[in-house]
C-alpha cells in the first residue's frame, strides 16, 4: 500500500466518536485488499480483523474516532451554539469551516465566526472566547440542521513535505494506517501468533469500544496504538521527536516483560524507538483494556504527532513504516 494515499483517505473521512461507521467502512475496504485475513464488524461497530497463526492470541488496537462537534442550540436564523466531542482548544476552532452531517444525510456548512478587530474593545481583545461564547454561522443548509447534528473540521489533508503529512484526525488515523500496513507486512511471515487487528470506536468518548472488544477476545497480549505529543518539550519528560520511531510506553499500565521483549526486538532489527514514561494512566484505551476480564497484559506504542486536536496535525511517514515493521516482526514471532 502507498501509505500517504491511505492516510489521505483516512484523514478526509469523517467519524467523530459514536459516528465512526464511514471510517470503519473505509478500513474494511482496505482490508479486503489484503489476502488471508477475515474481517467482521461487531454489534457496536468495531471492526475486528483476524489473521490466523499458531501461538498466543495477540490483539492490536487502534481507535478510529476523531474529535468533533455537536450542534446544541439554535440561537437565531443561522446561528447555532455547539459543544465538542473530545477536548478542543477554542483558539483552534475560531475561523474554521465546519462540515455538518444533518439527520437527512445531507451536508450543511457553518463557520465559527470571529468579530472583526475593528469592532472589538480592549476588554474583549484580552481573552479567548470560551466554547459557550463561540457560535456557528450556518450559511449552507440552515433549514436542514437540527440539535444533535455532528460536525467536523473541514480540512483537506496534504503532504507538507516529502515525509511530513498533515491533516485532521491523524489522531488516530495514523495508527489505523500503521495497523493496515502491519497487516500487509505480516504476509511475509508465517506468524507464530493468532492476531486480531481491532479498529475500535469511541476512544475520545472514554474507551467503551476497545474495552468491549478486549472482553470478547480476551487476548494474551493487547497492543494499543495511539499518538503522543511530538517535537515539544514537556517539563521533566524526554522530548519525543517525529521521525525517530515509535514511542514505547513504560509505566504501571504497561506489562514490563512484554515491554522489554518489544524493546529488545526493536534493537535487534534496528528499528529506532523512543521511550515514553507514563506516570499513572496513559489517557488511551490501554488503561481500560488492562483491567478487563481478569486483567490483560498491555503495551502502548505511540506515533509522535504535532499539534494534537487541532485541524492540522502533523505526522512523519517514516514513523509509520518503522512502527509497522516492528509490530509485524513482533506478531510474527508470537510476541517474543
Amino acid at each position: 500500500m502507498i501509505i500517504a494515499d491511505v492516510l489521505r483517505s483516512l484523514s478526509s473521512t469523517d467519524g467523530p466518536s459514536g459516528y465512526e461507521y464511514r471510517v470503519i467502512n473505509l478500513i474494511e475496504e482496505e482490508v479486503k485488499k489484503i489476502p488471508d485475513v477475515s474481517a467482521e464488524i461487531d454489534h457496536l461497530g468495531n471492526l475486528i480483523v483476524k489473521k490466523g497463526g499458531q501461538g498466543k492470541k495477540i490483539a492490536l488496537f487502534a481507535h478510529t474516532d476523531e474529535i468533533g462537534f455537536l450542534l446544541t442550540k439554535k440561537e437565531s436564523d443561522n446561528y447555532w451554539r455547539f459543544t465538542t466531542i473530545g477536548g478542543i482548544d477554542p483558539k483552534a476552532i475560531i475561523s474554521q469551516r465546519i462540515k455538518i452531517y444533518t439527520r437527512s444525510g445531507d451536508i450543511a456548512w457553518g463557520i465559527v465566526g470571529m468579530l472583526e478587530p475593528h469592532l472589538q474593545t480592549e476588554e474583549t481583545r484580552r481573552k479567548v472566547p470560551s466554547l459557550d461564547d463561540l457560535f456557528l454561522d450556518v450559511i449552507d443548509g440552515q433549514d436542514r440542521v437540527d440539535t444533535g447534528d455532528i460536525g467536523v473540521f473541514s480540512v483537506e489533508p496534504f503532504l507538507l513535505s516529502d515525509r511530513y503529512f498533515t491533516g485532521k484526525a491523524l489522531d488516530n488515523r495514523v495508527s489505523c494506517a500503521t495497523l493496515l500496513y502491519t497487516l500487509e507486512l505480516l504476509n511475509n511471515f508465517i506468524p507464530k501468533a493468532e492476531s486480531y487487528f481491532v479498529f475500535n470506536i469511541r476512544e475520545e468518548d472514554g474507551s467503551p469500544g476497545a474495552k468491549t472488544v478486549a472482553y470478547r477476545l480476551k487476548p494474551d497480549l493487547a497492543i494499543v496504538l495511539d499518538v503522543t505529543h511530538g517535537d515539544i518539550s514537556v517539563p521533566s519528560m524526554p522530548r519525543i521527536e517525529l521521525g525517530k520511531g515509535p514511542a514505547l510506553g513504560v509505566g504501571p499500565v504497561i506489562d514490563y516483560n512484554y515491554f522489554e521483549r518489544l524493546k529488545g526486538l526493536a534493537e535487534s532489527i534496528s528499528v529506532n524507538y523512543q521511550i515514553e514514561p507514563l506516570g499513572g494512566r496513559s489517557g488511551t484505551d490501554t488503561d481500560l483494556i488492562q483491567i478487563t476480564r481478569g486483567g490483560i497484559p498491555t503495551l502502548l506504542v505511540s506515533l509522535p504527532l504535532r499539534y494534537m486536536h487541532t485541524p492540522y496535525e502533523v505526522v512523519n511517514i517514516r514513523d509509520i513504516e518503522e512502527t509497522a515493521r516492528l509490530l509485524s516482526y513482533f506478531v510474527a514471532r508470537g510476541g517474543e
Binding site: 463557520i111 469592532l119 505529543h229 514537556v234
Partner: protein, 336 residues
Amino acid sequence: MYLKELTELFGVSGYEKKVREYIREKIKGRVNLIEEDPLGNLIAMKKGRIDKRLLICAHMDEVGFMVSNIEDDGRLSIIPIGGIDPRAIIGKKVIIGEKEIPGIIGFKAIHLQKDEIYEPPKMENIKVDIGVTKKSEAENKVKIGDFVAFSVESKSNERWFSGKALDDRCGCSILMDIIHRDIDLYYDTYFVFSVQEELGLRGAGVSAERIAPDLAIVIETTTSGDNPEFPSDRRSTELGKGPAITFAHSGYVVDERLFRWIINVARENGIPYQIKRRTVGGTDARRIATTLAGIPSAVISIPARYIHSPMSIINLEDYSNTLKLVSILLTKEARL
C-alpha cells in the same frame, strides 16, 4: 462576478502582483487605457460623456504575514501585515512566497496547556510548519521576507459567499463587473485597484494624485458585527440589508453632497441600503480626500462578517444591490 478567483489569489499588502495580473488580464481590451503606477496600483480608464474625471477605487491587498525569521528547528516566525487577530490564526493552512510553499500554523496541544487556554496567543509563539526539521532545509524552500497568505478555498450558494480576503476583493469584483457591463458613463471613469490599503491607505492617494479626479467613490467591504455575541446597538451593518453607505469614518467625514446624492439615487431606484452605524476603521477615501487640493470622496461598502480573519462571509444580494447602485451612480452627474 470574479469573487471565487479573486479571493483565492495570494495578495498580501506589498505583494499584490498576482491579483493585479489577474485583473489586468480580465479587463484588457474593455477599457480605453490601462496602466500601472510606480507603487503597483492598477489604473484603467473608460471614457464618459463629459470631460470630467471620477475615480472609483477598490483595494487589491489583503491582510497576511511576512516571514521574519527561520528558526533552528526549521519553523518560520512570522509578523502580521495589517490588522490580524492572533486568536483567529491557529490551525490554518498558509502559502508562502512566490512559489506558494504550503505550511500550517500549529499550536501547543490543548492537553499541554494550563492557564493559557483562554489567553490570546502571542505572535512570538505562532510558528509556521513547512515539514522540515532544520534551518538549512527550510532555507531551500523559503526566505526571510517572503509574504505569507492564508490558503482558503471559497464556498458559495445562492445566498452566501465565504472565503478569505473578501475585504476588499468584493470591491475589486464590483469594479470588474462594471468594466464588463456597457454602462453609459457620465464621467471619464478611472478604475483604481489600489495597493497597501491595509497598511494605512498607502496606495490610493498616489493614484489620485496622478489622475486628479473631480470626485471619488471608494468601494469597500466593511464590518458588521451582526452575530449573537455582539450587542445589536454596537453593530455597524447587517448582512442582507443592502449596501452600506458611510457618512463618516476614522479620519474623514464623507462629503455631505455625495452622501446625500448616493442615498437619493438608491431611494429613487428602490435599491435597499443601510447607513453604516459605526465610524471605526478607515478607507482609501480618507487619503484620496486630502490629495492635491482636496477631492470630494464617498464610500459604499458591502457588509461582511468576520473580515480580517481567514473565513469571512458576505450576502450575495448585498453584492448585487451594491453593483446595481454603483452602476446607476456612474451614469449620473453627482450633485456637487
